[in-house]
């Protein structure tokens, strides 16, 4: 059987991963390369534009979208370690250009090539197992955009099932929003706090020692609340555990962290 040519994948790093947690980006690169892809990082990428889009600033969103569309032209696939950013490119960009057919075509083209990392690995590449070890009991939070826009649900659980030493224990309501919501968490801090408080109680009640998810915004929100409450649960991006980077300090813990 002849091997298919390697897929050329452009990584959409996302602004939060770039700024706060580069290891998620490197984990994504490793997982994609292990699956036989050639990974590139287009240098002109910044942010997908969600802060403007969700604040009602359509003009700025379009300007940012134009730039992202240009930056990722010509790549076979575009993959992001985030359901919300991938969903922005694949579900929301085309609708921004209803009055501009040429841009709309380009946006639709990008949309068709864009994938969330877990869905790409499992659904497109057919990956079912990874070479990783993590000695711990984890619970998985289904971030909203990935779950409801992109159908990311089983894929991360399939891959986690192949991690040596890892046990998965589900929360009661893994599909309920953690209360992050981008600018929501600072515009309505009290409501956001109530929501993330329910989430951290659910996480603790699961008995897991680690919570994983596929979106850094949600992870930072949950980590910040768990730590403020003094709960000893570690918070990591699912890609890090799958890429065997479980020895890194968890999110929000210093270099002297216990693991």
């Amino acid at each position: 059987m002849s091997r298919p040519p390697p897929r050329r994948v452009a990584l959409f790093v996302t602004c939060l991963v770039d700024l706060f947690r580069p290891s998620v980006g490197f984990a994504a690169v490793k997982l994609l390369e292990d699956a036989g892809c050639i990974v590139e990082v287009p240098p002109l990428q910044v942010c997908c534009g969600q802060p403007a889009y969700n604040s009602g600033d359509r003009a700025s969103t379009k300007a940012i979208a134009r730039q992202v569309i240009g930056a990722f032209e010509g790549y076979q696939h575009v993959v992001a370690p985030s359901g919300s950013c991938a969903g922005m490119l694949s579900h929301h960009y085309p609708g921004l250009f209803d009055d501009d057919p040429a841009m709309k075509t380009r946006a639709e083209n990008l949309a068709a090539r864009t994938h969330e990392l877990m869905a790409f690995l499992v659904d497109v590449l057919g990956v079912t197992k990874v070479a990783a070890r993590y000695d711990g009991v984890v619970t998985y939070h289904d971030s909203c955009s990935g779950l409801r826009e992109l159908g990311v649900k089983q894929q991360p659980r399939t891959l986690l099932g192949s991690v040596q030493g890892l046990g998965l224990r589900e929360m009661k309501t893994p599909e309920v929003c953690c209360g992050f919501g981008g600018t929501f968490c600072v515009k309505y801090p009290e409501i956001s706090n109530a929501m993330v408080g329910e989430k951290t109680s659910d996480i603790e009640a699961s008995g897991a020692d680690t919570v994983l998810a596929g979106d850094l915004g949600c992870l930072m929100n949950m980590a910040g609340k768990l730590q403020r409450e003094g709960r000893a649960v570690q918070v990591r991006h699912v890609a890090e555990v799958l890429a065997d980077m479980g020895a890194l300090a968890p999110i929000g813990q210093g270099e002297g962290g216990e693991r």
Binding site: G49, P189, M195
Partner: protein, 476 residues
């Protein structure tokens, strides 16, 4: 009803600190959504029915004038009357005039969110006409002078103990002097009190889940049967409904009923589904002598033909609020007007203005849970975003937020500048946060750090800086 939507944040603050409300919400969150999930799972064609329900409503909205006129023709042929109310004020006046025409002293009401929308009770009381709510939940909140907090469970914000206190306070003068503690006893006492009021009422007023154009029928579902008494015993029946309640046929009603109850309470069907088709006919043993349908627009027709038209598909099941984590945290009253939750966040700015209700469509994480359970697939997050865009266009967004956004989007469009600034921010945040790995407080981020620690960046620079270092040698 007077809106407090402007005070949404303050309302939410109070709701979060109300222990009775939080108790009630904790039960609601588990109950409704779990029952809906089970009901949907038991019916293999449920998802296909949602598509059909959406299509029926879309078709009707695209031909709304035709079906409304068809409905009117049928009602007239049955000997009933149709009254068109462009505004809330028109509807109040029409109903008051009808009540006066029969010298009504009391009217028995059941199940009408539209009557809350037009502030009917206060208006009638001012005219000396006593409206009696006959739905148990509506009756409880009427005694307490509160608005409904949920569109199908108006008193869902109250605990059983609060209801017991309310009944003792108001029923004592009727001879009920014992404080009840059992749910069934409370229901039985309310039934005794209300039964006489049904018999005394001169006019029965109810809402409608659907107006069926082909037969001129109004259709109402309840779990208490109160609507059947309120519309058969009095001499005059008034049906109050908004324009988008019309649907073409009984066949269509059957489809919508199948998704309505399952989405609302997880029941396969509500306990009572009542069709009213005109006044009492010669030879009928009972029924109203006069049958009037008041059809309210109140700004709805202005969204027809626009991308906002989707909001008019709503069949008022309440699934969006039952699954909304924001509603689950603060309940319905915090939204400040008649319709709470995600559908309220979309309808309220349309009905009372985005200046007044701008907070509502903003107070959402866009988690999409509402859209995922909506029986007629209303794209609620998209419609909320529409209001945010109208707000932004009209410069109603707070100035600090606008300025912050303008600065950020200026930088986000300039990758080189962005890299320099993000590299700087990364180093700064990483440097001072290195020891603990997080911040307990951070200037300009108090909204976050008031309740949460803020994770510091990993050491070593941004992803792009590290990537560029690793790949600089292999690049031409």
């Amino acid at each position: 009803m007077q809106s407090t939507a402007r005070a949404f944040k303050q309302n939410a603050h109070e709701a979060l600190h109300d222990p009775n409300l939080q108790d009630s919400l904790a039960k609601l969150k588990v109950g409704f959504s779990e029952r809906r999930r089970q009901a949907a799972e038991r019916l293999p064609e449920f998802e296909a029915l949602r598509d059909r329900a959406r299509d029926i409503k879309n078709h009707t909205l695209e031909n709304l004038d035709f079906y409304l006129e068809e409905f009117e023709r049928k009602v007239l042929a049955l000997g009933g009357h149709v009254h068109w109310a462009p505004t809330a004020e028109d509807a109040r006046r029409i109903i008051a005039d009808l009540c006066k025409s029969v010298g009504a002293r009391t009217i028995a009401k059941s199940k009408s969110m539209v009557s809350e929308e037009i502030g009917l009770n206060d208006h009638l009381e001012a005219l000396g006409i006593a409206p009696i709510e006959t739905d148990l939940g509506e009756y409880i909140i009427q005694l307490r002078h509160e608005p409904p907090s949920h569109i199908i469970a108006p008193a869902v914000h109250l605990t059983k103990d609060q209801v017991a206190d309310t009944f003792l306070e108001h029923h004592r003068e009727l001879g009920f002097t014992r404080r009840l503690t059992e749910r069934n006893d409370l229901v039985a006492e309310a039934r005794q009190v209300l039964r006489q009021k049904f018999l005394d009422a001169d006019v029965g007023l109810n809402g409608a889940n659907f107006l069926v154009a082909e037969t001129g029928s109004s259709m109402l579902v309840t779990n208490e049967g109160n609507a059947d008494l309120s519309n058969t015993l009095p001499r005059m029946q008034i049906v109050l409904a908004s324009i988008e309640k019309v649907i073409p046929t009984l066949e269509d009603a059957a489809v919508l009923l199948r998704v309505l109850a399952r989405s609302a309470t997880g029941q396969e069907s509500s306990a009572y589904t009542t069709l009213n088709t005109g006044p009492k006919r010669a030879g009928d043993l009972d029924g109203p002598e006069q049958y009037h349908v008041v059809i309210l627009d109140n700004g709805r027709s202005s969204v027809l033909g626009t991308r906002m038209q989707d909001m008019l598909r709503c069949i008022r099941c309440g699934a969006c609020m039952n699954h909304c984590p924001v509603y689950g945290a603060i309940g319905g009253h915090a939204y400040g007007w008649v319709y709470p939750g995600p559908i309220g966040a979309v309808l309220t700015p349309q009905l009372i203005g985005v200046e007044e209700a701008g907070n509502l469509p903003n107070a959402s994480t866009f988690c999409g849970h509402c859209e995922s359970v909506c029986p007629v697939r209303i794209p609620l997050p998209r419609l909320m975003r529409h209001w945010r865009e109208r707000e932004f266009e009209r410069h109603l967004t707070p100035r600090a937020a606008r300025q912050g956004l303008a600065l950020w989007s200026f930088v986000a469009r300039r990758p080189k500048l962005y890299r320099r600034l993000s590299g700087f921010a990364n180093k700064l945040l990483a440097l001072f946060g290195r020891a603990e790995g997080r911040y307990r407080s951070l200037p300009l981020a108090s909204g976050w750090t008031r309740f949460r620690d803020f994770p510091a960046p990993q050491p070593g620079g941004t992803f792009h800086a590290q990537w560029a270092r690793q790949h600089s040698r292999v690049r031409p």
